[in-house]
Subunit: 267 residues, 3 copies
Amino acid sequence: MERFRMLFQHFQSSSESVMNGICLLLAAVTVKLYSSFDFNCPCLARYNALYGLGLLLAPPLALFLCGLLANRQSAVMVEEWCRPAGHRRKDPGIIRYMCSSVLQRALAAPLVWILLALLDGKCFICAFSSSVDPEKFLDFANMTPSQVQQFLAKVPCKEDELVRDSPARKAVSRYLRCLSQAIGWSLTLLLIIAAFLARCLRPCFDQTVFLQRRYWSNYVDLEQKLFDETCCEHARDFAHRCVLHFFASMQSELRARGLRRDTTGKN
Amino acid sequence: MERFRMLFQHFQSSSESVMNGICLLLAAVTVKLYSSFDFNCPCLARYNALYGLGLLLAPPLALFLCGLLANRQSAVMVEEWCRPAGHRRKDPGIIRYMCSSVLQRALAAPLVWILLALLDGKCFICAFSSSVDPEKFLDFANMTPSQVQQFLAKVPCKEDELVRDSPARKAVSRYLRCLSQAIGWSLTLLLIIAAFLARCLRPCFDQTVFLQRRYWSNYVDLEQKLFDETCCEHARDFAHRCVLHFFASMQSELRARGLRRDTTGKN
Amino acid sequence: MERFRMLFQHFQSSSESVMNGICLLLAAVTVKLYSSFDFNCPCLARYNALYGLGLLLAPPLALFLCGLLANRQSAVMVEEWCRPAGHRRKDPGIIRYMCSSVLQRALAAPLVWILLALLDGKCFICAFSSSVDPEKFLDFANMTPSQVQQFLAKVPCKEDELVRDSPARKAVSRYLRCLSQAIGWSLTLLLIIAAFLARCLRPCFDQTVFLQRRYWSNYVDLEQKLFDETCCEHARDFAHRCVLHFFASMQSELRARGLRRDTTGKN
């Protein structure tokens, strides 16, 4: 049990590592979710862009909000923001620090989904196959514009009768996938460079202020946890006394009937 | 044994975490249940909608009631509601708090089922394939309306002779699945936004009242648990004394017959 | 628990082994990433070189920055560099030592990607198929220069109608892949020789200085970790006292209502 308590205390003291764990877990769930999701483009000119962009952007929004919900600190932050100012000064810097820390962790999973979708390319092909410039490909020379539009809408559906084994479909699909991957890699690079600058150049500016804010945000979190625990302890204590009070009257009833326990009994 | 007692006490003190655990377990069971369920559309015009909607809505109802049954607090709530008012005031706010907490946890598993079914799309295709507007698809141009109806009813059955390898079946099925997924993702987003608002904006309104209700709902739960335990303890104590009383009379009977144990005996 | 604590302390004390672990992990992730990545050359003369070189160089850049981000010591190094000089002298040698140690570990994953890509050859064929000198191959004798250019751009796409089953495509592809593998193996040899010289000849020069720098870089890292832990400890202590203060006033209220615990009670 000592072991559990120590583990528990470790989790209590280092909420940051727990939050990082949650953040990694959500990212892993995202990868699993994406790979098990059955992507299915409608191949109807009107719905393609809606469906493709929807799948590129709606799940990340859901994951972002999930990330905020799963993070204990987002609630702690709002409470700290709304609490009446007592003896402890309300410092907007602490709230800003908590906010940025919560946002960073909540953004991990959505970005994983978007990057996966871009590197995979299916969403992108579905969304933009109708917007491709047919001039780029030599295969559309002997088609009317309406035929070209119908053909382009069917590009994401490999198995469709109209486009099966068509070299033009493969060329358009290849072009769009390569564009999607290029955007995906550029986005990855940009994000990593931004993270790198934020992490590695920060110590050159306001390191002391940063450390103080981190300390206080940690403190606010710990105070809430201890308050909850002490409340629970208190409730149990109170309930214990009430129940004993109830049984004390029963005990006296038993004693009246001569069935009371000996004061020298072993049990 | 000390270890078990500590673990038990930990579970006792934090019923919320236990309930969350049950809620997660039910959701996981739901996913397993859905993935192992053999969906099998009748493909008869009259029964399709009934079967599809039935499978979309009946299991969630069962799971909802299971969620209520599995949650200890739903029984505690009813008892708190029905108890005679003694020295402790009956606060409808506490009952409302318990009710909302129980409902939230019981709704998790049904929602998981509904979202899985919508994202998978099979139920939706089975239920609504007959209601599709044939004007949207070019493939039905040379069919009579009754033929179209018969064809649409067969859409969910890939292997049926009438629709096997038909591009029209694939187009209708693709359209319905994409609609189903769109509804599923919209529902997910709506639910998550609602949860987000409820969780993150609550501290701005009635935080003190909320904390008090949480404390009291916790207290009611603990009081019942302690009462049950003390009852058990008390009953055992009483039974022990009664049994000893019985044997005490036997002992005196034995002594009277001269068969009492030697004071120097080995056993 | 003692076991966990020992493990934890081991990780704490020997950050080098943790960093080596991270470095190995990143390299393994790189291999997995490369093998699961769906390489897809556009086969359009203008985009080929861009896409091929992009995939040869952009992911390694991303991995390099990831390696810097994942390494705790890169932040420690910047902090050591920017800290105001106090009683402890700021030695540029220590910062140089940390920098080189961080760089070495961050370079592992990018090099793995580049070597994999070169030994595999797909990126290289995609990037340079248009730059091949057609004089080297006899198969282009009866083609116009523009036809040759179009043919060469299609070389990376095996399945394309224009080049399917063409012996010329196979010859060009074979030539480029063999060139790519030769560059890959040469690079591997060079890197291993450089690592060998650096590791095995270093003790002949400035071993004492090197050991001192290693000791100090380790010290700086440990100091930061201990500071963080002590901050946490301090916050918990403070929060504990504040919460107890709040409940102390409640306790006196209970006592006033006659429900106080006996001072001699065991529970």
